[in-house]
């Protein structure tokens, strides 16, 4: 009986289903944790306590907020296209769950080990742009439309330097499998890719902040310009899903960054998934820190940074990497 169960569990399809369910739970919990963390970090930076009322140290605040969002009425503007309007938030969150499958949380803790894991993540995370586009178009609101126009050009522009940075690592490791890339950095802390490829890390992280529409690159939802950008018209869980998706993309991005550049689950002592989570959280905190410190850049400045700096630097980095590998390897 038990061998049969184990056999069944080892079936790839069952494994994926279990991984997806666990991922959903992880996304939900992490969403709550990150909202709480974000508000506490903001409070710390702004010399105030942050949420403090619901539960000890306000720890249940996110849960209360989630309850409020679920309970709210879903309002659709009169002129909005019902199908596009409701498809957008779902499309925004659904693909991101798949992105967790190839991420190695620990030496054996991987949802689905495939040799093109990195491509899978990049492909599915690209779908978010489509969701923002639909939300902007479907809302029948001018602010939403402007927000989604910004979102599309921003995402398209920043995907290029992101890919260039990832490619440099892929060249160096000779693999697109995140587990294998992590294993190549196994020897010591000094063999982490962040020391070997500091420029690629910088490009990747800046592009990541821009791809996830976080401040100082939060133009699609620039509050003081476009009220709330693409999600102006969304209420309740429509907004909640966009919000959750934003945080989930942050987690995916930081998790990939810690695999690619920071040695994944490996640490100076006691390798394991806690190292992976610690690195991911460290990067997430850095993103929060940016948000509460810097003003927002303007749209043309944002694109200038991408086209005039990140892409040429990324290309140069890629060429140098390729040459070094050709000569040395």
């Amino acid at each position: 009986m038990i061998p049969t169960m184990l056999h069944l569990l080892a079936h790839p399809f069952i494994r994926i289903v279990i991984a997806l369910v666990l991922t959903m739970a992880f996304v939900g919990v992490m969403g709550l944790v990150l909202v709480y963390a974000e508000r506490k970090v903001a409070g710390f930076i702004q010399r105030r306590p942050g949420p403090f009322e619901v539960g000890p140290h306000g720890i249940l605040q996110s849960l209360a907020d989630a309850g409020k969002l679920v309970g709210k009425q879903l309002v659709r503007p009169f002129d909005a296209d019902p199908f596009l309007f409701w498809a957008a938030p779902i499309l925004s969150l659904a693909p991101v769950v798949v992105c967790f499958l190839p991420i190695p949380f620990g030496p054996t803790l991987t949802g689905m080990q495939i040799n093109v894991g990195l491509v899978l993540i990049l492909a599915f995370s690209g779908l978010n742009t489509l969701a923002l586009c639909l939300a902007g178009w479907g809302s029948a609101n001018k602010y939403s439309l402007l927000g989604s126009a910004r979102a599309v050009s921003q995402s398209v522009a920043y995907e290029i330097p992101l890919l260039l940075a990832v490619l440099a690592i892929a060249f160096q490791s000779g693999s697109l499998d995140l587990t294998e890339i992590t294993l190549t950095q196994r020897r010591s802390v000094l063999s982490w890719n962040v020391w070997v490829q500091p420029l690629a890390f910088l490009i990747f992280f800046v592009s990541l902040v821009a791809e996830t529409n976080r401040a100082p690159f939060d133009l699609p939802e620039a509050e003081s310009e476009l009220t709330a950008g693409f999600h102006t018209e969304y209420s309740g869980m429509g907004f909640g899903l966009f919000f959750l998706a934003e945080y989930t993309y942050m987690i995916v991005g930081c998790a990939v960054a810690s695999c690619l550049f920071l040695g994944g689950w490996e640490g100076p002592v006691a390798d394991g998934h806690w190292w992976f989570l610690a690195k991911t959280f460290g990067l997430l905190l850095a993103m929060m820190w940016f948000r509460w410190t810097y003003p927002r850049v303007r749209f043309d400045q944002l694109l200038n940074v991408c086209w005039k700096w990140l892409i040429p630097l990324g290309l140069a980095n890629l060429v140098v990497t390729a040459l070094v590998i050709k000569v040395v390897g």
Binding site: A42, I45, Q46, R47, R48, F78, D79, A140, K142, Y143, L146, A149, R150, A215, P216, D218, A222, E223, S224, E225, L226, T227, R291, W292, T293, Y294, P295, R296, V297, R298, F299, D300, Q301
Partner: protein
């Protein structure tokens, strides 16, 4: 069923604005966008109708009147003393300057001489209020630019000013402290100590703000060469205050038409050179330092004596005549015109709000700008909408 096309979209202003010809004909379609009256960047109920070509602004027209409270008409229905509390509500951020404009006008009309101690107290409190107004502008402007944190720091400092002014005036925002002939009450004994503490504290804070915000490369990118206002344009619109001084015109009512005892104080008038948003920013930041210097000098020469003119009549009934009195508010020249017919109630009151002139510069500056730049310019003008609508 009712469709989008069958409904007429927009109100009178939107349709009127859309019907007008664009300044410059474009290839594609343009978009009429209503920014406000409820919008995070308009800081109140200002409404801007803009015609946009993508993210670029082709035309812009401010629509006013959403918070019109008939302050001028109210002046014609109550006595000179009863009208004083209205003044704190015209511009709630620099309420004491408006207080001063009103009592100053009535004093000039009646020829009342204010005791020196009262004048010095007025200067100290008005300058403190100016700093608190500029601090709030600083925080709100950075909020417009997408920086969430500075406003919290600005509010923490502003809180200290409000605590000080509370001990003197009894209120924290809409002050009604000056009286015709002096000030309401004398300052409490610990007032000077609190003010000196604040000056030392605020002097230690300003360098941090400059390090953290003024020198930030993103802020520079958002402010420098944005909304360049030539001094000629500024003068022709009647812009005053930091908006005019940012364009290089050293016009300050405290120097140009000295009132009270300002001619006895040494202070500089900070001016910008190119007239961009960064110049207006720098002028305001420098003005806070100048205000600190004025307060310090005033504290040193605070005389003993009464705080109300001794020979005031029981009822304030100015003789027939008219007068105009101007003071320098945080946003520019605040003017009060009073026409008296010899009765206890003013025949006509006209309030000159600096924000009104400063706002209309915006319609010219915004043309050709990106939406984000336009809102940066709007923030740099430091508008208080209730003051504009009065």
């Amino acid at each position: 069923m009712e469709t989008a096309a069958s409904r007429s979209i927009g109100d009178y202003y939107t349709r009127h604005f859309a019907a007008e010809q664009s300044v410059e004909k474009t290839e594609g379609e343009t978009l009429i966008l209503n920014i406000g009256p409820q919008h995070p960047a308009t800081h109140g109920v200002l409404r801007l109708v803009v015609e946009m070509d993508g993210e670029y602004i082709r035309r812009c027209e401010p629509v006013l009147g959403y918070i019109h409270r008939m302050h001028e008409k109210m002046g014609e229905n109550r006595t000179y003393t009863q009208y004083l509390p209205n003044m704190g509500r015209v511009d709630y951020l620099h309420a004491l300057a408006w207080n001063w404009a009103w009592v100053g006008a009535v004093e000039r009309l009646m020829g009342i001489v204010v005791p020196e101690r009262a004048e010095i107290i007025r200067i100290i409190t008005c300058e403190l209020n100016r700093i608190s107004s500029h601090l709030l502008w600083w925080g709100a402007y950075l909020l417009d630019l997408g920086a969430f944190t500075p406003i919290v720091y600005a509010f923490a400092d502003r809180e200290r000013i409000m605590d000080i002014l509370q001990t003197v005036t009894g209120s924290r925002l809409t002050y009604c402290y000056y009286r015709i002939g002096g000030v309401g009450t004398d300052i409490p004994p610990d007032f000077c100590g609190m003010v000196r503490d604040f000056i030392a504290y605020f002097r230690s804070r300003l360098p941090m703000y400059h390090d953290l915000v003024t020198d930030n490369i993103i802020l520079r990118g958002r402010c420098e060469d944005i909304g360049v206002l030539p001094s000629e344009t500024a003068r022709s619109y009647g812009a005053t205050g930091p908006v005019l001084r940012g364009s290089g015109v050293a016009y300050d009512v405290r120097r140009a038409e000295p009132y009270s005892l300002y001619d006895r104080f040494a202070f500089e008038i900070p001016v910008g050179d190119s007239g961009d948003a960064m110049d207006r920013y720098r002028v305001r930041m420098a003005e806070m330092e100048q205000s600190l210097a004025i307060i310090e000098q005033a504290m040193d020469r605070l005389p003993q004596g009464p705080v109300m003119a001794p020979d005031l009549p029981e009822r304030i009934i100015p003789p027939r005549g008219e007068t105009y009195f101007a003071v320098e508010g945080a946003r520019g020249k605040i003017g009060v015109y009073v026409l008296s017919d010899g009765s206890p109630i003013p025949y006509r009151v006209k309030l000159r709000a600096p924000g009104f002139s400063n706002l209309h510069v915006f319609a010219e500056l915004a043309v050709g700008c990106l939406l984000a730049d336009a809102l940066s310019i709007l923030g740099s003008l430091d508008l208080v909408i209730p003051e504009i609508d009065r």
